[in-house]
C-alpha cells in the first residue's frame, strides 16, 4: 500500500527535525562518521598509491634475451616477431650491444666509471628486451624464450625477482587486510554509535507504537535521519581529502619527482564516491537495524 505524499513529506520533515532534537547525539554521531571516513579515506588513497608504486616497480622487470652471435638481421626480426606474438608477452624491444653496455655502465652510477676502460671489449651481445604481460609471468616467459635456438642466454635476475614478488605480495596482503579491517571497523563503529543514540530513544519508539504507528511509520524518519547523518558526516572528510590530495600531489611532484603519485583526478572523485556511498549505506543500515529492535510493542 502506497504512502500518501503528505506522509512522505512528514517523514522527511521529521527525519530532519530529529537531527536537531537530538542535538548532542547527532553531533556525536556525525563527528564519529567524519573521523572514521577521514581515516579510511586517507588510508585508501595511501594504499592505492602504494599499490601503483609497487606495480610500477614490478613493471620495470624485464627479460634480456641475448642473441647468438651468429644470427643475422633477418633471423633477429623473425625471432622478435615470434616472441611478440606470444600472448604472455607485452612488448619486445631490440637493444644492440653498444647500447646495452652504455645502459649497464649508466646503471652503475659513479661505480660504472671503472668500467669505461673495457668499452673496447664489450662483453654483451645484441639482445631483445622483453616485458611479460603480467610481471609475475616473467619466469615462464624467460624459460620459453630460452628454448629458442637463436637465443644464447636469458637474464632476468631470478633471485631478486622472487624476493621482490614475495615482498610486494606481502605488502599488498598487509595493505588489503588493513583496508578491510579499517572498513569493518568503520562500519562497526558508525553503526555502534547510531545504535547508542537509538537505544536512548527506545521509549519514544515504544510510545509511537502505542499511539498506533505502524513499523514503517516509525522507521521512515530514522531512515531519513540515517541518510542525512551519512551525507553530513561525509562532507568534511571528502572536502579535506580532495583538497589535501591535490595539494600534496603538486607539492610532492615538485619536491620528489621520482615518487610517482596517482593523478588526483579522477582518483579523488572515486574515493569520494566510495566514502559517501559507504557513509550513507552504513547510516541507513545502522539506524534501521537498531530501530528494528525496539519495534516489538
Amino acid at each position: 500500500m502506497a504512502m500518501k505524499r503528505r506522509t512522505f513529506a512528514r517523514h522527511m520533515r521529521e527525519g530532519l527535525k530529529n537531527i536537531g532534537r537530538n542535538g548532542w547525539m547527532s553531533f556525536a554521531t556525525i563527528s564519529a562518521v567524519t573521523m572514521l571516513l577521514f581515516v579510511i579515506g586517507s588510508f585508501s588513497v595511501l594504499m592505492l598509491n602504494a599499490n601503483s608504486f609497487i606495480s610500477a616497480i614490478e613493471n620495470e622487470v624485464e627479460i634480456r634475451a641475448f642473441l647468438e652471435l651468429d644470427t643475422d638481421s633477418d633471423e633477429q626480426q623473425n625471432v622478435m616477431q615470434e616472441i611478440a606474438n606470444a600472448s604472455e608477452v607485452e612488448e619486445v624491444r631490440y637493444l644492440d650491444r653498444e647500447e646495452g653496455l652504455d645502459q649497464f655502465i649508466d646503471s652503475l652510477g659513479s661505480e660504472g666509471e671503472v668500467y669505461e676502460s673495457i668499452r673496447d671489449e664489450n662483453p654483451f651481445n645484441d639482445a631483445l628486451v622483453i616485458q611479460a604481460s603480467d610481471p609475475e609471468l616473467t619466469e615462464n616467459v624467460a624459460a620459453e624464450v630460452n628454448r629458442l635456438e637463436e637465443i644464447e642466454t636469458v637474464e632476468y635476475g631470478a633471485s631478486i625477482l622472487t624476493q621482490l614478488f614475495t615482498v610486494t605480495n606481502y605488502v599488498r596482503i598487509i595493505g588489503g587486510v588493513f583496508i578491510l579491517g579499517m572498513l569493518f571497523t568503520t562500519i562497526f563503529l558508525i553503526s555502534n554509535t547510531i545504535k547508542l543514540t537509538i537505544i536512548s530513544r527506545r521509549d519514544e519508539i515504544q510510545i509511537m507504537k502505542l499511539v498506533g504507528a505502524t513499523n514503517r511509520f516509525v522507521r521512515f524518519p530514522f531512515f531519513i535521519e540515517g541518510l542525512l547523518i551519512g551525507i553530513i558526516g561525509a562532507i568534511t572528510p571528502i572536502a579535506i581529502l580532495v583538497t589535501g590530495y591535490v595539494y600534496l600531489y603538486e607539492f610532492l611532484s615538485t619536491q620528489m619527482p621520482f615518487i610517482t603519485m596517482l593523478e588526483p583526478f579522477p582518483l579523488v572523485w572515486q574515493v569520494s564516491a566510495l566514502l559517501i556511498g559507504l557513509s550513507i549505506i552504513v547510516g541507513i543500515w545502522g539506524s534501521q537495524m537498531s530501530v528494528r529492535k525496539f519495534l516489538q510493542v
Binding site: T7, I207, G212, T214, F217, V297
Partner: protein, 247 residues
C-alpha cells in the same frame, strides 16, 4: 448434543459486536511471576462508560494494557471491536490501536516534541491532511484549556498540564474507545470535573469510555458502571455503582 448447542450459543454470544471489549477467563502473570490478573471475565458494550477501581497494585493498568495489546494475556481470550487479539498479527496491531485513545498513567508524552507535535502525532499516524491536523489539534488544546502552551515542551509543563495534554492526544482522532488510566490524578478538583465533562460528552457522542480511577468523589457523584478489581480479580461489577472494592 446439549453441550454442543450450549457452546454454540456461547460462541455466537461472544461474537456479538454489542461487546466492544470482551475478556474471557483472562489470566496475566508477568515474567517475574507476579500474577497481576486472574480469571477476568469482563464484557463492555458499545457506548458504555465504565470506571475501573481498586487499590494500588490491584491490576487496573494491567487490565488496560491487555486491551491495547501492549501485553498478551497468559491465558484466556480478549476481543476488542470484534477482533480476537490472539489472532492479531504484528501488522494489524497499529490499526487496532488507532481505534483506541489512551491516557497513560505516566502520560507517555514524547519528551523532545512540543505539545503541538505530541498531539499532532496521533493524527499524522492516520495520515490526516495537514490543515485538518492543525485545526483539530488547536481544537483539543482548547478543550483542555492549554491552547497557550502549544509550543511548550513536556519538560516545561506542570504535572496537571502534562496530564491534560495526554488527554488531548487520546481524544484527538475521535477514537471508538477511550481508555484513561487515572486521568485526574494530577488535577485539582475543578479541572478534574471539567475533564469528566469532556469524557461524558465524548461518551454521549458514542465513544466507549473505560477509566481507571482512585477518585471516589468522582465515582460517587457521577454514577456509572463500576468494575472493582482487587488483587487481580473482579470483585464487583455494578451498574451505577459507588466507589469501593470490597466484594
Amino acid at each position: 448434543m446439549r453441550i454442543l448447542s450450549l457452546s454454540l450459543i456461547i460462541w455466537i454470544f461472544s461474537m456479538d459486536v454489542r461487546f466492544l471489549i470482551d475478556m474471557k477467563r483472562v489470566r496475566k502473570s508477568y515474567p517475574n511471576r507476579v500474577q497481576a490478573l486472574n480469571n477476568i471475565n469482563v464484557h463492555i458494550g458499545k457506548e458504555e462508560f465504565v470506571y475501573v477501581v481498586g487499590p494500588s497494585g490491584a491490576g487496573k493498568t494491567t487490565f488496560i494494557k491487555l486491551i491495547i495489546r501492549e501485553l498478551k494475556p497468559s491465558e484466556g481470550s480478549i476481543h476488542v471491536n470484534g477482533t480476537n487479539l490472539g489472532d492479531l498479527t504484528e501488522k494489524e496491531i497499529p490499526y487496532l490501536r488507532r481505534k483506541i485513545g489512551v491516557v497513560f498513567q505516566d502520560f507517555k508524552l514524547f519528551p523532545k516534541m512540543s505539545v503541538y507535535e505530541n498531539i499532532a502525532f496521533a493524527l499524522e499516524v492516520i495520515e490526516a491532511p495537514a490543515n485538518r491536523i492543525k485545526e483539530r489539534v488547536m481544537e483539543v488544546l482548547d478543550i483542555v484549556h492549554l491552547k497557550d502552551k502549544a509550543r511548550f515542551y513536556p519538560s516545561e509543563l506542570s504535572g496537571g498540564e502534562m496530564q491534560r495534554i495526554a488527554i488531548a492526544r487520546a481524544i484527538v482522532n475521535h477514537p471508538a474507545i477511550l481508555i484513561a488510566d487515572e486521568p485526574t490524578g494530577n488535577l485539582d478538583p475543578e479541572t478534574a470535573w471539567s475533564i469528566m465533562g469532556i469524557l461524558e460528552e465524548i461518551n454521549n457522542r458514542g465513544t466507549t469510555v473505560v477509566m481507571a480511577t482512585h477518585n471516589s468523589h468522582i465515582v460517587n457523584n457521577l454514577r456509572k458502571r463500576v468494575i472493582a478489581i482487587d488483587d487481580g480479580r473482579v470483585v464487583r461489577d455494578e451498574w451505577r455503582g459507588a466507589y469501593g472494592y470490597e466484594a
